[in-house]
C-alpha cells in the first residue's frame, strides 16, 4: 500500500474531528473529537515513519498519546466539575469569559 491512502485517511479523520468540535455543543463530544484529531495526527506520524524507515515518527506518536491522556484527564475533570455544580453541559451556555 502506498502512503497516499494513509494520508487521505488521516486527513479525513482530522476533518471529521475538527468539524465535530465546530458543530457539537456537548463538552464530552468535543473532547472525543479532539481525541479523533490527535489520533489522525498519530496515524500520519506512524505512516511517515514507515515511509522514511526509522522509528522517530513512532516515538512522536507515543508522546502525543501521553499528552492526549493528560488532556483527557484535565478535560474530563472539568466536565465532572461542571456537572457537579449543576451547570449546563453546553459550551454555548458557558460563556462567562466574553470580553
Amino acid at each position: 500500500m502506498t502512503i497516499e491512502w494513509y494520508i487521505v485517511l488521516s486527513s479525513l479523520l482530522f476533518a471529521v474531528g475538527a468539524m465535530g468540535i465546530l458543530i457539537r455543543r456537548s463538552p464530552v463530544v468535543i473532547l472525543l473529537c479532539l481525541e479523533l484529531m490527535l489520533n489522525a495526527g498519530n496515524l500520519a506520524l506512524v505512516a511517515f515513519s514507515r515511509m522514511v524507515g526509522n522509528q522517530e515518527g513512532q516515538v512522536f506518536a507515543l508522546v502525543v498519546m501521553v499528552i492526549a491522556a493528560c488532556e483527557v484527564v484535565v478535560g474530563l475533570g472539568l466536565i465532572v466539575a461542571i456537572f457537579r455544580r449543576r451547570l449546563p453541559l453546553n459550551v454555548d451556555d458557558l460563556r462567562e469569559l466574553r470580553g
Binding site: A18, L22, V91, D92, L94, E96, R98, G99
Partner: protein
C-alpha cells in the same frame, strides 16, 4: 585620638541627640529631652575643643586632614566619599557653632519650659546644629550641599515651630523657598566645578583650580556667581534677605540660633572656604563685596525705623553679616571670621535678652509699649546693654576690634576698597544709632504697666495670648506659644547662658588686639595662605587709627541716639515729618517685599494661572483624552472577538491554521 576622629564625634553627638529625642519623645520626661539635647551639644563642644587641641599639637602647615567613612556615591568617573575636611577654618567654625549652640540650648531649657512642644523643639534644635556642623565639616561639595539643604529644612521646621500660627507657617515657607533658590545656585556651581575639574573634593578642587582657570576667566566667574547665589540666600543678603526678618516668627532661641551661630554664617563660611576660587574671579568677589556693603547700609537704615524688638535685632544681623561678606570677599578672611565669632556672642546675647523682655511683656514685641525695664529686670537689662555696646562697637568690646579689623584691611587694600571702608564706618554709625534707640526706649524711663507689675509683685504680667504680628488673640495650646513665660531673673539656665555670652561679648575681642596679641589670626591664617590677598596686613599704626575712628563713630552714634530718644524725645517726630519719604522708605523696608512680589511672585502666579486655565485644558487634557479614546476604541473592536463561545474560538483557530497552511502550500509550489 586624631583630629578627624574628634570631628566625627562632633558630628555624631547632635545627630544621636536628635534621634534619641525624636524616637523617645513619648517615653521621655520633658525635662530629660531638654537635658539630652543640651548635653549632646555640650559634649560636641568638648569634642570640638579636642579637635582644636589636636590641631594645635601639629605644625601650622600640617593642620589639614581629610577623612572619609565610606563611598557615598560611586559611578562612572564620579567618586563621592562621605568625607569630612578638618583644617583651621572648619575647626574654628565647629567651635563657634557648638559653643554658642550649647548656650542657646541651655537658654531654651529654661525659656521653652512651659511650651507644649518642648521635646519636638529640642529634637529640631539638635538636628539644626547637626546640619550646620555637617555643612562646615563636609569634605566635598556634595556633602556641603547635603548640609546646606538640611539647614534649610531645619530652619523651616523651627521658624514654623508654632505651627498653628498662620504667620509663622508663612514665614517658614518663605524662608524655605528662598533657601531653595540658593540651593539651586549652589548645585549648579557644583555641576560646573565637576564639569571643569572632574572632582568634588575640596583638596583636589582647590589644588587644580589655579592651574585650570586663568584669573578672571568667565567659567570661574560663573561658578563664583552661582556660589554667591547660595551664599546670599543663606546669609540673607540683598536681594535674598526678605526671609530673615520674617523668621522672627520662630521662638526667640531659634532666632538666636539662626542669627548668631548657624545658618546665616553659612554664606560667610562658603566664601571663606572657596577663597581660592574667589581669588581667581575678582569680578565675582567685588560683586559680593558691594552686595555686602549695600546690605549693611540698607539694613541699618531699615532697623532705625522698625518698632518690633526682634525685627530691629534681625536687621542688625543682616547688617553685620554684610560686614562679614564684605570682609571675606575683599580678602580679609581672618577678620571676617573674627567678626563672625564676636557677632555670634553678642547677637545671641541680644536675642536672649530680648526673649526675656518679651516674656515679661506676655509675648508683645512692640518697643513703643516698652519702657522702664532697667528697674524691673536688672540682669536682663545689663545683658542687653552689654550686647548693645558690643554691637555698636563701643571701645573695648568684642565688636569694636572685629569690625575695625575688617575695615582697616579694606583701607589698606586701597582703591575702591577704601570707599568700602568709609561705607563701613557709615554703617557703624547707623548701627550705634539703632542699637541705642532700642536701649534708650526699652530700659530707662517710667516703667510700663507690665514692668510695673514685675516691680510691685515680682510676678510676670499675664495678658491674653496675642500674636505680635497681627494683634489677634490665639489659643495657648499645642502649636502656639504657651501661656506661661520665663525670664532670666527667675530661671537659672537662662541666666547662666546669658552670663557666659555676656562675658564673651565683652572680652572675646581681646584675643586679637592689634599690636598686642595675634591669637586668632595666627591660628587661622595658614588656612588662607594660598591666596595672595591674605598676605596683605594693615600696619599696627594703621589699625589703631582705624580703631580710633571706629571709637569716635560709635560714641557719636550713641550720643546721637541719646539726644534723639532720651534727651529730646520730640525730635524723632520732627525728623519723621521733615523726611517723610525717607522715613516711609525705611519703615516699609525699602519696599523689597513689594518689589519681589511684583517682579517674581506675580509673573509666576500669572504663568501658573495661564497654564492651569488654558494650557492644561487644551493641550494636556487634549493629549490625555485623545490617548484614552484611541485605546478605548481599539479595545472595543478587539472585544467583539472575545464573545465567550468556545466554538467560535475553535473556528478562528481552525480557519487561521488552514489559512496558514494554504499560504505555505501556495508559496512553495
Amino acid at each position: 585620638m586624631s583630629a578627624t576622629a574628634w570631628a566625627w564625634l562632633v558630628l555624631l553627638l547632635p545627630l544621636l541627640g536628635s534621634i534619641v529625642i525624636s524616637l523617645g519623645f513619648r517615653g521621655l520626661p520633658a525635662r530629660a529631652a531638654g537635658a539630652i539635647g543640651t548635653l549632646a551639644i555640650g559634649l560636641a563642644f568638648a569634642c570640638a575643643v579636642g579637635v582644636l587641641l589636636n590641631l594645635l599639637g601639629q605644625e601650622p602647615d600640617a593642620r589639614h586632614h581629610a577623612s572619609s567613612l565610606w563611598d557615598y556615591a560611586s559611578a562612572a568617573g564620579l567618586d563621592i566619599k562621605l568625607g569630612i575636611y578638618v583644617d583651621q577654618l572648619s575647626a574654628f567654625m565647629i567651635l563657634v557653632v557648638t559653643g554658642v549652640s550649647t548656650l542657646i540650648h541651655l537658654y531654651s531649657f529654661g525659656y521653652m519650659r512651659s511650651d507644649e512642644g518642648y521635646r519636638r523643639f529640642f529634637s529640631y534644635l539638635n538636628f539644626f546644629v547637626f546640619s550646620m556642623l555637617l555643612l562646615v565639616l563636609a569634605g566635598n561639595f556634595v556633602l556641603l550641599i547635603v548640609g546646606w539643604a538640611f539647614v534649610g529644612f531645619a530652619s523651616y521646621a523651627l521658624i514654623s515651630f508654632w505651627y498653628r500660627r498662620t504667620t509663622a507657617t508663612g514665614a517658614g515657607m518663605k524662608a524655605f523657598v528662598i533657601n531653595v533658590v540658593g540651593d539651586i545656585g549652589l548645585v549648579l556651581a557644583a555641576f560646573l566645578i565637576f564639569r571643569e575639574l572632574g572632582t568634588f573634593d575640596y583638596d583636589a578642587v582647590f589644588a587644580q583650580a589655579p592651574e585650570v582657570f586663568s584669573r578672571g576667566e568667565w567659567t570661574i566667574t560663573a561658578i563664583c556667581l552661582l556660589l554667591l547665589v547660595g551664599a546670599f540666600a543663606k546669609s540673607a543678603q540683598i536681594p535674598f534677605h526678605t526671609w530673615l526678618p520674617d523668621a522672627m516668627e520662630g521662638p526667640t532661641p531659634v532666632s538666636a540660633l539662626i542669627h548668631a551661630a548657624t545658618m546665616v554664617t553659612a554664606g560667610v563660611y562658603l566664601i571663606a572656604r572657596t577663597h581660592v576660587l574667589f581669588y581667581l574671579a575678582p569680578t565675582a568677589a567685588d560683586i559680593a563685596a558691594f552686595v555686602g556693603l549695600g546690605t549693611l547700609l540698607i539694613a541699618g537704615t531699615i532697623a532705625i525705623a522698625q518698632t518690633d524688638l526682634k525685627r530691629v535685632i534681625a536687621y542688625s544681623t543682616m547688617s553685620q553679616i554684610g560686614y562679614m561678606i564684605m570682609g571675606v570677599s575683599i580678602g580679609a578672611y581672618s577678620a571676617g571670621l573674627f567678626h563672625l565669632m564676636t557677632h555670634a556672642f553678642f547677637k545671641a546675647l541680644l536675642f536672649m535678652a530680648a526673649g526675656s523682655i518679651i516674656s515679661a511683656m506676655a509675648n508683645r514685641q512692640d518697643i513703643d509699649r516698652m519702657s522702664g525695664f532697667w528697674r524691673a529686670m536688672r540682669f536682663t537689662s545689663i545683658m542687653l546693654l552689654i550686647g548693645g555696646l558690643a554691637l555698636a562697637a563701643f571701645p573695648g568690646t568684642s565688636g569694636f576690634f572685629s569690625k575695625d579689623s575688617i575695615l582697616s584691611y579694606a583701607e589698606t587694600r586701597g582703591g575702591m576698597y577704601e570707599w568700602m571702608a568709609i561705607g563701613g564706618y557709615v554703617g557703624a554709625f547707623l548701627t550705634a544709632i539703632y542699637t541705642f534707640r532700642l536701649i534708650f526706649r526699652v530700659l530707662p524711663g517710667k516703667p510700663c504697666p507690665e514692668a510695673q507689675e514685675l516691680i510691685d509683685t515680682g510676678n510676670l504680667y499675664h495678658g491674653p495670648p496675642i500674636n505680635p504680628a497681627t494683634e489677634e488673640e490665639e489659643d495657648s495650646e499645642v502649636g502656639f506659644p504657651g501661656a506661661h513665660h520665663h525670664i532670666a531673673e527667675q530661671s537659672w539656665p537662662m541666666a547662666v547662658a546669658m552670663a557666659c555670652l555676656g562675658f564673651g561679648a565683652l572680652f572675646a575681642g581681646l584675643i586679637q588686639v592689634p599690636g598686642v596679641d595675634n591669637v586668632l589670626f595666627g591660628f587661622l591664617e595658614p588656612a588662607f595662605e594660598d591666596s595672595p590677598l591674605a598676605a596683605i596686613h594693615p600696619s599696627v599704626a594703621h589699625e589703631w587709627t582705624g580703631l580710633a575712628v571706629g571709637a569716635a563713630v560709635a560714641l557719636v552714634g550713641i550720643a546721637a541716639a541719646w539726644l534723639l530718644w532720651s534727651e529730646r524725645p520730640s525730635l524723632p517726630a520732627v525728623f519723621r515729618e521733615r523726611l517723610r519719604p525717607v522715613y516711609l522708605l525705611c519703615l516699609n523696608k525699602w519696599y523689597f517685599d513689594e518689589a519681589i512680589d511684583l517682579l517674581v511672585v506675580r509673573p509666576a502666579l500669572a504663568i501658573g494661572r495661564f497654564a492651569n486655565s488654558t494650557f492644561e485644558r487644551l493641550v494636556v487634557d487634549g493629549i490625555v483624552t485623545g490617548t484614552r479614546g484611541t485605546v478605548g476604541g481599539a479595545g472595543g473592536i478587539v472585544r467583539l472577538v472575545q464573545n465567550g463561545f468556545v466554538r467560535s474560538y475553535a473556528l478562528l483557530l481552525v480557519a487561521g491554521f488552514a489559512g496558514l497552511a494554504l499560504y505555505f502550500l501556495l508559496s512553495s509550489s
